[in-house]
Symmetry: C2
Subunit: 214 residues, 2 copies
């Protein structure tokens, strides 16, 4: 069976996966960038953004396994980009430049159809208009025995949790408060979904917990 | 001005300060005891419970300052004990035995009047029936220049946060999920209340953050 995971998803102490007032300039909302302080210093993130160096401690160990063994991704349209409503043209191709860090098929949930976009490095964006179940089916087929990762954002992860399809979730809790924004876990009973903490490690920058099926 | 603080208040990764189904046997609800794993191993907690030894690291440094400089406490009736409704008699005197760890006046919020109870070691329980503002006024007067601490539980801390009277709050985030229970921060905008993270340290058992007024 294909494993469905969420990895490296970061929330604030008050439970928000994104701050308020998201925009093209602040895709994670006001203060939301600060969530990922644990990640941006790591060797993996440095490499991903074309820089050398970077930390090699606890945070790096989680960053390094972020994409390990993943054959396909699912993300919400708001994570793919700031365009809302009908696609005005084909120009928006994600936040990540010509060679996105996925190197695998990415299924983007949207209400508005669009032709698939093939990028450099093995990433292809497919646009799914018939819901999360369909996206999961397509992603599992495309993953070809490897795992499926739910990339985000908050609303997509919530949908997957509520549908009971998440087998494993690595959460990082960042020592910041956002006040308002998108609450990841509000109204979601992780215990009833069969998820419990299997592993936890803290760094200077975050508390890492891995939830898995009991 | 008297400082009002919350200290050593622990929440789960999913934001609960107590689990579901609280009872006399499980005052913190199902799974709620696990919240305080960071605390029970410390030298301070050992001393408080008449044992020697205990840890001396990060967790201990937070446990040790728990009651530092505090002249009076406020707590909700459900933290004082499991008795609900009218007090049937004077027999319930808290969870803590003859010599409670407060050694100061403790103002217990309740709808049902009761005479003050003087305990060994300087703790006196006063019962306040006219609300949080009155309890704060009385606690500040009794604290005599020292600080007032909001002991809990969740509902009392929420009331104080919402009233905008909390100057400082030390939260410990425990690497567990509770699924259901009493959510500490749901619907509370800490940023709008002027609270931001001033300090954070992680141990093996918890992420500690201290929020203070900006």
């Amino acid at each position: 069976m294909t494993k469905v995971s969420v990895r490296g998803f970061t929330i604030s102490v008050d439970g928000f996966g994104a701050g308020p007032d998201q925009s093209q300039e602040e895709p994670l909302g006001k203060g939301g960038e600060d969530l990922h302080r644990w990640l941006v210093g790591t060797r993996t993130f440095h490499a991903m953004t074309g820089k050398g160096g970077g930390s090699t401690g606890v945070d790096e160990s989680y960053a390094a396994r972020h994409m390990d063994g993943i054959g396909a991704y699912i993300m919400g349209r708001n994570m793919f980009g700031p365009v809302r409503g009908l696609w005005p043209d084909e120009s928006w191709k994600g936040w990540w430049g010509d060679n996105p860090p996925y190197h695998a098929p990415v299924f983007v949930l949207t209400h508005h159809p669009r032709a698939s976009v093939e990028m450099a490095g093995g990433t292809t964006f497919h646009f799914v208009t018939d819901g999360i179940e369909s996206a999961l089916r397509q992603a599992k087929a495309a993953a070809n025995g490897r795992g499926v990762q739910i990339g985000g954002g908050v609303s997509t992860v919530r949908q997957c949790l509520q549908a009971g399809v998440v087998d494993e979730m690595h959460l990082a809790i960042s020592p910041i408060v956002l006040g308002r924004g998108e609450a990841l876990l509000a109204g979601i009973d992780l215990s009833a979904l069969g998820l419990a903490v299997r592993e936890h490690t803290a760094s200077e920058n975050a508390l890492h917990v891995v939830l898995a099926r009991r």
